[in-house]
């Protein structure tokens, strides 16, 4: 089978980027990290941070920031502290005076984070103008805790993601907790981050699949198609045309309690304007429960390869 891919032009583009980057770097006021007073060597000579902050430093051995700053084979977390907190010499000499050490809090602390993390890791993220862009209300340290991250959570988030997101998105969180038909966020590690990208720029709140589709298909692969006889998805609609992803009071997380009403919302041809898929079902007598259960016959509502009427 012949597969057409974008490989050749894209590879050529990537190859050309190296040269372009070099030239660009010469002209660009590069987004260099703000100067952090890294004094790992000085810190090593002085009394160790861990002499007082014993538990903190011990736990920091497992922190990714330790490995990022340290040389090969060196795993003394004391050496990493200065990279964010600066020279601790005066702080130590003053017997631990908190005013003599740089601490990272709130928005100003986040600016220190961005000194290294300014370049977002992909094309869809933006710390500049995303809904979670760095502001007084939401900044790096609102969600991330460098020293006290939640256990088993990635990226040093302060609380388990479901709890963390729910601390601002209260209505969505309550919907997941209370409604009877939901994605079970409290089971098997499923979290908001399976579908949502917290660093995304405006207008792109969901994580798309590698194929640029709704994240639903990462799990529900059998709904992807393509189908000979498409229905909704792939022909102008999305999963959310019929389903409620944040929890529903209706079976199968549908928008309507009665399936026939959901189907007839579209399939009810009325006078202009002409709308897509609006042909009405013939002779179906809704007074009979047989016909009110549309999917009893039209089982392949997500698309079919063998039945024009989605019967199998």
């Amino acid at each position: 089978m012949k597969h057409r891919t974008a490989a050749p032009p894209v590879l050529a583009l990537v190859a050309g980027l190296a040269a372009a980057a070099g030239a660009l770097r010469a002209q660009t006021a590069a987004p260099t990290p703000a100067p952090t007073p890294a004094h790992a060597a000085a810190a090593a000579e002085a009394p160790k941070c861990g002499d007082c902050h014993t538990d903190l430093v011990k736990a920091f051995a497992a922190n990714p920031h330790t490995r990022a700053f340290l040389g090969k084979g060196t795993v003394d977390p004391n050496d990493a502290c200065g990279n964010c907190h600066g020279d601790g010499k005066k702080h130590m000499e003053a017997g631990g005076d908190a005013s003599l050490i740089h601490t990272l809090k709130g928005l100003s602390g986040s600016e220190d984070c961005l000194a290294c993390h300014q370049n977002t890791p992909g094309p869809h993220d933006s710390f500049q103008n995303g809904p979670h862009a760095n502001s007084a209300a939401v900044n790096c340290l609102t969600c991330h805790s460098i020293h006290h991250a939640a256990p088993k959570s990635e990226h040093l988030v302060a609380k388990p993601p479901v709890e963390l997101c729910g601390s601002c998105h209260g209505t969505e969180s309550a919907s997941f907790r209370a409604k009877p038909y939901v994605h079970r966020l409290d089971r098997g590690g499923m979290s908001c981050l399976d579908c949502h990208a917290p660093h995304a720029r405006q207008g792109e709140p969901v994580k798309m699949t590698i194929q640029g589709e709704m994240p639903c298909l990462n799990c529900h692969a059998e709904k992807r198609g393509p189908f000979v006889f498409q229905h909704v998805v792939g022909s102008g609609g999305t999963c959310l045309s019929c389903h409620e992803s944040h929890g529903s009071n209706n079976p199968n997380m549908l928008q309507w309690a009665q399936v026939s009403q959901l189907c007839l919302s579209c399939h009810s041809q009325t006078p202009p304007p002409q709308t897509y898929g609006s042909q009405p079902p013939s002779f179906h007598d809704l007074r009979s429960p047989r016909y009110r259960n549309c999917t009893t016959c039209h089982v392949a509502v997500h698309g079919s390869n063998v039945s024009p009427q989605l019967l199998k």
Binding site: L17, R25, C168, G188, G225, P289, N293
Partner: protein
């Protein structure tokens, strides 16, 4: 992973943990919670499984291991697991890395999917027969592995593999000969994605390219359920009682989809960030279907009675899909940025199905034998779906305690559909070209100072015309949020969201409002000892639209109404080595499906040594549905109690 294997693994982990507990003095960066869950359900057990599905058995509730130093070649090793064993969903993750050399991530996630809804696909709900006729009891396993080589260097090659399997039995229905029959079916599907990529990172310029190959296979084997030969319709149709003595279908699909994914970003002069993305994914689906049925059937289409059907279908669907975007973000002033971009995606579908149906021993309504009848359909379909988006927005992130943003988006949607004649029973709206343009204006502001955070967002969407009947012409979205924190003592939050969408065209009359409100508090009465929390709010949904009743083509309004209220409260108490956490939730919904949900969670943990604790958990989920049109009412009700007893080891 098979249940037996899961149980064996969980049991082995239990034994290992118990042995390891004796080594409690040894400092190992591991945290394990392992135990057994008992389940007691009264009422509709199948509804409990549909909504909750916590199963009895050994449960590895939690495992966490993080290396504190190098382990051989690795300088990072992290393993964690959640809810492995009794189900219904478990996860295992592994991260192994050596800084600057490689980074390997692996995730396994398993989900038990169970559905036996009482009223869904159930024409006999009024007779008290449950569950409905479409059920499943399947398992989804997703394995995902990714290897980055030279992470953080200028060039980082990436290799990845994802496997998503979906297997298990179920029941479905099949409309044949003017009757519906319940079938037992067995599904097996595998979705595999292999990918290889390269990320380029040289300061101001970053780029990535990934080439993936997706292979998907689906097999569904269905046979007439024993005892279901009478079907749902037992009254004669044109004088014939329609019955089936055998129905057997097999459907196999193979889909190949190569995926190319590329992106590039460039930071210019510290003020401009340019981003481009491109995705190409062309999928081809080859399907074969075979069916053999016997019985007494009626076809209105053929105006005949027949005693068997042999059908074969060979079909191919091909989609050409691409998505591209270009975007610029410009920093006008410190913390003030302007962004704008274009994005477009296009999907062109071509489908063809050769449907060969042999109706056996046909007889006219008048009783004349007409022999076998062969019908051949060569169905051809096509759909072109293109969406183009332009947007521009300005963001001022740090005006003291205030941040504001405002923006405009225009979405242009074009759908051209050419259905096959065999799809059309009654003409109207199935084919043609449909266009729609939506303009969105909106913005938001946040204020954060003195522990108080206020946020408000408002967007107005205006469309020129609908494509589907449920597309809005006007939509307003409002979100308001307030949070107040007093040190570590008190947190109070209030959240409000309201979406109103409508199409006032007199023959459609579409109107929807979804309104949600929540208030919550969290108060620490004794620091590190006693915390109380509570929440409450309202969920409101009002949907209405005119529909055409198909039995007489009259146009009538139809409504979906939901009015839910929830109240929650709980306490967390910690004293020395004892932790107690309890919460109660109550939700009542009135409207199309009236019900009450009550949930109780009570957890106690006591560490009787420094490293070893005992865990007890009681969960109760109670669902009470009240009588409503076409719903299950009390037939759906259940009371599910789970009791978990386990050990918690944290050396």
């Amino acid at each position: 992973m098979r249940p037996a294997l899961r149980r064996a693994l969980a049991s082995a982990a239990l034994v290992a943990a118990a042995g390891a507990a004796r080594l409690s003095a040894q400092a190992i960066p591991v945290d394990v919670e392992l135990g057994y869950r008992f389940v007691d359900v009264s009422g509709n057990d199948q509804m409990y499984r549909t909504q909750i599905n916590d199963r009895p058995g050994v449960l590895l509730r939690s495992l966490d291991y993080t290396s504190l130093g190098p382990i051989g070649f690795l300088d990072t090793l992290h393993v964690d697991a959640t809810d492995v064993g009794a189900g219904p969903a478990g996860q295992l993750r592994l991260l192994a890395a050596r800084t600057g050399v490689f980074r390997l991530t692996f995730t396994w996630r398993e989900t038990d999917l169970y559905s036996a809804l009482p009223a869904f696909a159930n024409p006999f709900i009024d007779d008290g027969i449950v569950p409905g006729q479409q059920t499943w009891n399947r398992i989804r396993n997703i394995y995902d592995a990714e290897l980055e080589l030279l992470p953080g260097k200028i060039l980082t090659p990436i290799l990845g593999y994802t496997r998503n399997t979906y297997d298990g039995p179920g029941s479905t229905t099949y409309h044949l000969g003017q009757n519906e029959f319940q079938l037992d079916d067995q599904v097996h599907s595998v979705d595999s994605l292999y990918k290889i990529g390269l990320v380029f990172n040289d300061g101001p310029v970053q780029a990535g390219f990934t080439q993936g190959w997706r292979e998907y296979s689906w097999q569904d084997v269905s046979v007439l359920r024993p005892g279901a030969g009478s079907g749902n319709v037992t009254t004669p149709i044109v004088g014939q009682v329609v019955t089936a003595s055998s129905i057997a279908t097999t459907q196999k699909s193979e889909i190949d989809t190569p995926v190319s994914n590329a992106w590039v970003t460039a930071n210019l002069f510290g003020r401009v960030k340019l981003t481009g993305t491109y995705i190409k994914a062309d999928g081809t689906n080859d399907t074969g279907f075979a069916e053999a049925d016997a019985g007494k059937f009626v076809s209105f289409e053929l105006a005949r009675i027949f005693s068997g059907l042999t059908e074969n279908v060979d079909s191919r669907a091909h989609t050409d899909y691409w998505r591209g975007s270009a975007r610029a973000e410009v920093t006008l002033l410190p913390n003030v940025s302007l962004a704008g971009g274009w994005a477009e995606n296009s999907r062109v579908l071509d489908g063809q199905a050769l449907i060969s149906s042999l109706f056996l021993d046909t007889v006219t309504y008048a009783g004349q034998s007409a022999g076998d009848l062969l019908r051949e359909i060569n169905a051809q379909t096509s759909v072109e779906d293109t969406t183009r988006t332009y947007d521009a927005n300005v963001t001022a992130r740090q005006l003291g305690p205030v941040a504001v943003n405002a923006g405009w988006t225009q979405v242009q949607q074009n759908v051209t559909a050419t259905p096959d004649a065999s799809e059309i029973v009654i003409p109207g709206g199935q084919g043609g070209r449909y266009e729609r343009r939506i303009n969105t204006f909106g913005g938001g502001a946040t204020f954060s100072q003195w522990g108080l955070t206020l946020t408000a967002d408002y967007h107005h969407d205006s469309a020129d015309q609908p494509i589907f009947r449920t597309d809005f012409i006007d939509r307003d979205r409002l979100s308001v949020r307030g949070l107040y924190n007093i040190a570590d003592f008190l947190k109070v939050g209030a959240y409000f969201r309201d979406t109103k969408a409508s199409d006032d065209v007199v023959t459609i009359g579409y109107d929807t409002e979804v309104r949600e409100f929540q208030g919550e508090f969290d108060v620490t009465l004794v620091k590190n000892t006693l915390t109380l929390h509570g929440a409450g709010g309202e969920f409101l949904t009002n949907r209405s639209i005119l529909i055409r009743e198909p039995q007489d083509f009259t146009i009538v309004p139809t409504e979906q109404k939901e009015l839910g209220h929830n109240w929650e409260g709980g306490a967390r108490f910690t004293w020395k080595d004892l932790t107690f956490d309890a919460a109660y939730l109550w939700m009542n919904n009135d409207g199309s499906i009236p019900f009450t949900v009550q949930r109780i969670r009570a957890v106690a943990e006591y560490f009787f040594t420094r490293n070893l604790g005992l865990d007890f958990e009681w969960l109760q989920d109670k669902y009470d549905e009240r009588v409503a049109f076409d719903q299950a009412g009390p037939l759906a009700n259940y009371n599910g109690n789970r009791y978990y007893v386990g050990i918690h080891w944290r050396p």
